[in-house]
């Protein structure tokens, strides 16, 4: 069933048990992104400690957008800011692949579970919500 390509086990797990959910006590940057077509909202906190990223987030949205935030936050926490760039690029490329790519597990780890989302044009924005918030925040933190 095509639907299972979308709702991978990992995605539903992260949706039900989100990681790094909750805003940080202290942060360097806070961004708030919304998906105007469906009303999903996400707030992302970013801080850098000794060159390592710490992410915290909160939001309301569908399984895809919330699981994506959870998986992204797990994946990027502890990484360096420069290290995060190729991961972000790989995720965006995967989302634009229209189902042609399965994603590099070395780079994306659990986030390859979103490969199926790229076959559902209406849901790509859901998967990208957190990542676009991160892109925005990472530009601000570099300044």
């Amino acid at each position: 069933m095509q639907l299972d390509n979308l709702y991978q086990e990992v995605i539903l797990d992260h949706y039900k048990h989100p990681e790094h959910k909750g805003l940080l006590q202290e942060f360097d940057v806070q961004v708030h992104h919304v998906n105007p077509s469906c009303g999903d909202e996400l707030t992302l906190n970013l801080s850098l400690k000794d060159g390592h990223l710490i992410l915290g987030w909160d939001g309301v949205g569908c399984a895809i957008s919330m699981a994506s935030a959870s998986i992204m936050a797990s994946l990027l926490t502890g990484k360096g800011i420069n290290e995060s760039q190729p991961i972000l690029d790989a995720f965006v490329a995967l989302m634009q692949s229209k189902g042609a790519q399965s994603g590099d597990e070395e780079v994306l780890e659990d986030a390859v579970a979103f490969a199926g989302v790229s076959q559902f044009p209406a849901r790509i924005k859901c998967a990208l919500l957190a990542w676009m918030a991160y892109k925005d925040a990472s530009i601000q933190i570099r300044k």
């Binding site: 069933m1 095509q2 639907l3 539903l12 469906c38 909202e41 309301v60 949205g61 399984a63 895809i64």
Partner: protein, 420 residues
């Protein structure tokens, strides 16, 4: 007058070619997104195509045979819209859609000079409601901004009805415009117009009705409604996209300044100025959407043949069936009236633990098309305390089986997402 026979949705479906196709791996199409747009019967598709095949020419501009026939077809379309609404043909303005119709009116207010009855000042007030579609909210917000007028609104109560308890302090003596929806596209609530119109007219305000969700689904007669302006979209009324209607009372249209300027809408033109044609031409600048107007006219005739009362009764039967099923489910919250009183065939709901987007996706895999999101009524969603809802909206071609499939689909989604 046609004799109204009870409506058979299966017979009706055979008039709509789209129901011959399947969706998502051979699933029967269960189309429950009629609030967004309706499907088209073959006669409408044919009427639009035939205009291009046989009659195409620019209307009102030329003495040749085709121009004559095109003009006749376009004006006949205006006649059938006016007949459908119980209006005069000269009161019917073709626009692109309801959004454009409402913007036309709002910008016409801005174009009104001091001394014109439509001229607004910072002392004036515009009243809307909390349940408006963005199309009947933002144009008024922006008009308030441009003119300095104050924007006020009626709130929505817990049952999804307008709270009219403060009507006199909301529609004040300085109110010039009261703009509201006939039926909510989210809640299905049909608004009680009587008290609002009476108060608005008492203070000299005009009443603008967003009839997008009523004209396609029930009998609407402008003469007995008592509103001053009314807008609806052709594409929600079995008609083509790209055509909508603004209806206005003649004595008001007489004084209303134009919104768009250009060809066709003028009386005389010099190098330094121009005067305007009489309504409705004044409001139809440029070569209009002729084929679409003709398609809309065919759609309205199709609806009249079935009978608007039959259509409403049929949709209410489906609504009752769905409400009964959903009211039984503890995990489902219905937004809006839970009974059939003063409501139409639009049902918005939430299923505990499943985001509307995920529910919509799941239902889609069963061939069921519903709308999920804020339905272009973001302030109302905020009031309801939800980010989004799932909405099923019915039309004449929906069947009991469609309703049952939806309920089965919701149950299956709860299993799939593990919420029960």
């Amino acid at each position: 007058m046609s004799i109204e026979l009870a409506l058979d949705p299966y017979l009706i479906r055979s008039d709509f070619p789209i129901f011959n196709r399947t969706v998502r791996d051979n699933k029967r199409l269960i189309y429950l997104d009629n609030g967004a747009t309706s499907q088209k019967p073959e006669v409408v598709i044919e009427a639009e195509a035939n205009f291009y095949r046989n009659t195409n020419a620019a209307v009102h501009r030329g003495a040749h045979h085709l121009a004559e026939e095109a003009t006749e077809a376009y004006e006949e379309a205006r006649d059938s819209v006016s007949e459908f609404l119980g209006a005069k043909p000269s009161e019917v303005i073709f626009t692109k859609n309801a959004t454009e119709a409402i913007n036309l009116l709002a910008y016409a207010f801005t174009n009104a000079e001091s001394g014109n009855r439509f001229h607004l000042t910072p002392q004036d007030r515009i009243v809307v409601t909390e349940m408006e579609h963005h199309a009947n909210l933002i144009p008024w917000q922006q008009l308030a901004k441009r003119s300095g007028a104050h924007l006020g609104w009626f709130c929505v109560d817990d049952e999804g009805r307008l709270d009219l308890s403060d009507i006199d302090s909301i529609i004040t003596e300085s109110t010039k415009i009261v703009a509201l929806t006939h039926q909510s596209n989210v809640l299905g609530t049909i608004n009680p117009l009587g008290a609002i119109i009476a108060r608005a007219h008492q203070v000299g305000a005009i009443v603008v009705l967003d009839a997008c969700q009523s004209v396609p689904h029930m009998e609407v007669d402008v003469a007995s409604l008592g509103v001053d302006f009314l807008a609806f979209s052709g594409h929600k009324t079995l008609g083509p996209t790209g055509v909508g209607v603004l209806w206005g009372r003649s004595e008001l249209l007489e004084d209303l300044p134009p919104f768009l300027f250009g060809g066709s809408m003028i009386e005389t033109v010099t190098m330094t100025g121009a005067t305007w044609a009489a309504p409705p031409t004044r409001f139809e600048a440029g070569v209009p959407n002729m084929a679409q107007a003709v398609g809309l006219s065919t759609a309205l005739k199709y609806l009249s043949n079935v009978g608007m009362r039959n259509i409403h009764a049929h949709e209410m039967k489906l609504t009752e069936r769905l409400l009964d099923a959903l009211n039984e489910k503890k995990s489902v919250t219905i937004f809006g009236p839970k009974n059939l009183e003063m409501r139409g065939g639009v049902v918005s709901f939430a299923v505990e633990g499943i985001h509307p987007h995920d529910l919509g996706q799941f239902l889609d895999s069963h061939g069921i098309a519903v709308r999920t999101g804020h339905h272009c009524a973001w302030p109302l969603n905020r009031k309801l305390g939800v980010v989004a809802t799932t909405r099923a909206s019915f039309y004449l071609y929906n069947t009991d089986a469609d309703v049952d499939e939806l309920v089965i689909g919701i149950n299956a989604a709860e299993k799939y997402f593990g919420t029960i």
